[in-house]
Symmetry: C2
Subunit: 202 residues, 2 copies
């Protein structure tokens, strides 16, 4: 059985990673979403083990010291991270795993797991990103201002990624992500091999 | 405007490259099929400028001497080749071009155009390839024997390619090819860039 594919989806704050991920998971039912761990309080409607594993700052720091994270970051005063062990377990089962994480987290994953496929989700324009961030409505003016400033810096990071997908329409962006996963599974450098043929004897 | 993608589809004799290509061109209407030049006589139903450009051996040899081919090969006593100039013209217009060629031809294209995407189409098994070659019915026993021997050698070449697609069902294989093209167009190493955002000032 071949190793599962680790797909890292990132992009600036407010670009719509969550919405695109949900649609992608509908298109690719065998793709599994990695659940992050965080110390930020649950937002309305968020469920433990579905949206995040919610934990305390002291427990999170303990796991950092034990080097138990594939990536972690502190963002706006809260910790976010991906524990390594469940990721490896899923990949070893040959299951493709989707990580929806921020720019700093994606950097760490690429450093630790070279075979990860990294995809940068970009807004169609700065104006549209600004509208989306304003429209979220769950934060105060200062938080919005910080998000916008961060997004401008984060956009520069796209060059570090393997793929760029523009989120102009959710359906189109999700189809691009699905195509990238399908193509990566056909890569000979990733172990794609002919079936029912003795070609490995050389 | 970004450069078009050159997609090289190859695989052993009898694998069904032509059928898969026709289906792919229906799925991707903006993909253009490169027409090869050949010195073999037209088969029943083949049309000049649609299936091939048919030409004489002396004219073909003249073009070889003028280095006018992106790739050429002599197969079963006939010349087959892809003139370079029309390929470059189409790619410069930003159009994606599909080359359906044999193993020897694909090797030359990769040497001359590093940016080509190469895809190896493989049969699901040796037995199925044998059935397909037998079933073609347009050739004598000796030609079939030669094709089978060639196919066995050709299968070993899959390692030289970027992608492997198994042709178990035409529809599935064509969908894989379409996904590979879509994914390649999203590659940052191929020039995919954010739109409506000043990210290139650095």
């Amino acid at each position: 059985m071949s190793q599962g594919l680790l797909v890292v989806l990132s992009g600036p704050s407010g670009v719509g990673k969550g919405t695109v991920c949900r649609r992608l998971l509908e298109i690719c039912p065998r793709l599994k979403l990695s659940i992050s761990m965080t110390t930020r309080p649950p937002r309305s409607g968020e469920r433990e083990g579905v949206d995040y594993y919610f934990t305390s700052a002291s427990r999170f720091q303990e796991l950092i010291r034990a080097d138990a994270f594939l990536e972690w970051a502190e963002v706006y005063g809260h910790y976010y991270g991906t524990p390594t062990e469940p990721v490896n377990r899923v990949l070893d089962q040959g299951v493709n795993l989707l990580l929806e994480i921020d720019i700093a987290g994606a950097r760490q994953v690429r450093q630790r797991l070279e075979q990860a496929v990294s995809i940068f989700l970009a807004p169609p324009s700065r104006e549209i990103l600004q509208e989306r961030i304003n429209g979220r409505g769950s934060e105060d003016a200062e938080a919005i201002r910080r998000r916008l400033a961060a997004a401008r810096r984060e956009m520069e990071a796209y060059r570090e990624y393997d793929y760029l997908v523009i989120n102009d329409r959710v359906e189109k962006a999700a189809a691009c992500l699905a195509a990238i996963i399908k193509a990566e599974k056909c890569k000979i450098s990733r172990g794609a091999r002919p079936t029912g043929w003795e070609v490995n004897r050389v």
